[in-house]
């Protein structure tokens, strides 16, 4: 109960900071919409829907990357991460709070992006939307951990994509598979497994990332 209260307080704080600073969500929205518009004009008219689903995932992964790059900025300013690490709460609560907040921003961007995709390219069925949601959880869980690792480095802008993109490939495979395959359930199950395994790994290893 205390753990859940800590996570809620930390996630709420991130939402409050974003509401005031407006640094992350507007940038994500602008990026994902402009990417979809560029793809709309770049793709030939006779392109089939499968290629369009692939492009949707390019937009989603890079939008998430944009959010993750900003995820730990409030903690880097004024060295707040040290203050959180010193607090007697379970350190994994810091990761979980950040993952939930990042997921909220990503979902906020997708509330606009997915209808725009359906308008420009192809309709999204329930399996495709479920694939997007499950992949979002995986990206935010792994990405929040990797973003914390990258934030401690001087070359964080370079390091974050290098760490996140290879680990996002299974999510893209699962997400695209859920949208185009006749066996969407297998891909959704694969995404559930990915989320479970990587969420547990990230939860367990966060403490070692934030201490010297």
């Amino acid at each position: 109960m205390t753990y859940a209260a800590d996570v809620a307080a930390l996630a709420r704080k991130d939402l409050k900071v974003e509401l005031r600073a407006r640094d992350t969500l507007p940038a994500m929205l602008l990026f994902v919409l402009s990417t979809l518009v560029v793809f709309r004009f770049a793709l030939p008219d006779q392109t089939n829907d499968d290629a369009a689903y692939g492009l949707l995932w390019v937009a989603i992964v890079f939008t998430a990357l944009l959010g993750l790059a900003r995820a730990w900025v409030p903690e880097q300013e004024h060295g707040v991460l040290d203050g959180l690490v010193l607090a007697p709460c379970d350190r994994s609560a810091i990761w979980l709070g950040k993952s939930i907040a990042t997921l909220a921003f990503l979902l906020g961007a997708q509330i606009v992006a997915l209808p725009a995709f359906a308008l420009f390219f192809a309709p999204l069925d329930l399996a495709a939307i479920a694939g997007v949601l499950l992949a979002d959880v995986g990206i935010c869980a792994v990405g929040s951990l990797l973003a914390a690792m990258a934030a401690a480095s001087r070359s964080r802008e370079l390091l974050l994509p290098l760490l996140v993109l290879p680990l996002s490939i299974p999510l893209v495979v699962g997400g695209v598979g859920a949208a185009i395959s006749p066996h969407a359930d297998r891909f959704l199950l694969f995404l559930v497994l990915y989320d479970a395994v990587f969420a547990v790994l990230s939860w367990a290893s966060f403490e070692y990332v934030v201490t010297e």
Binding site: D6, P88, E212
Partner: protein, 194 residues
């Protein structure tokens, strides 16, 4: 209470701290001095548990929840107000009667009027006062202060000096300072880093 033996800290090939040993009893006041780059901040980070020594042993038998740390950075969110920052840390530290404690500290450190302003709008001195409120919020048993007077104006420095003087015998203090005039009289022992 705190026992350090030949504590060394390296960052890659660079040695930030070499062979430091000291003992500090419960209720003791240790003043850490030394020129820039001598390892004062590194030693304080080791004491609070933000880093681990590369060699040597450092025993700090105090629970994390009973340590208060003032760093070079204020460790508060710029986009939150003073009250919101202290409320967040008060929740994480399970401070009893949190609102009353926050109000009392803000009043005592002259931030009550500015309690609902964002920290981004604070002056450096006000931010440092807020950082002190955060460090003292949970009434820590071990208080570790890194250059606490550096960003404070005269009234702020006087206030902090008075707070430190009034700390009870059940509070242990480790403080680093360039200008030792304000803390020299408080110190029960002194550690000079080269």
């Amino acid at each position: 209470m705190i026992r350090a033996r030949e504590v060394e800290k390296r960052f890659g090939s660079r040695r930030a701290l070499r062979g430091v040993s000291f003992d500090l009893e419960r209720g003791g006041r240790l003043l850490v001095t030394g020129p820039n780059g001598s390892g004062k901040t590194t030693l304080l980070r080791l004491v609070v548990g933000l880093a681990a020594p590369t060699r040597g042993t450092l025993d700090v038998p105090v629970d994390r929840s009973r340590i208060g740390f003032l760093s070079h950075e204020p460790l508060v969110y710029r986009e939150l107000t003073a009250v919101e920052n202290l409320d967040l840390f008060g929740r994480l530290y399970r401070v009893p009667e949190r609102r009353e404690r926050i109000g009392m500290l803000l009043e005592r450190f002259g931030l009550w009027e500015a309690r609902n302003e964002r920290v981004a709008a604070y002056s450096q001195g006000m931010t440092q006062r807020l950082a002190l409120c955060r460090a003292l919020l949970h009434d820590p048993e071990l208080l570790v202060l890194d250059e606490p007077f550096s960003a404070l104006d005269e009234p702020g420095a006087d206030l902090l000096q008075r707070e430190l003087t009034e700390l009870g015998d059940d509070h242990t203090l480790v403080v680093s300072a360039h200008d030792i005039s304000r803390v020299e009289a408080l110190a029960s022992s002194r550690l000079a880093l080269a």
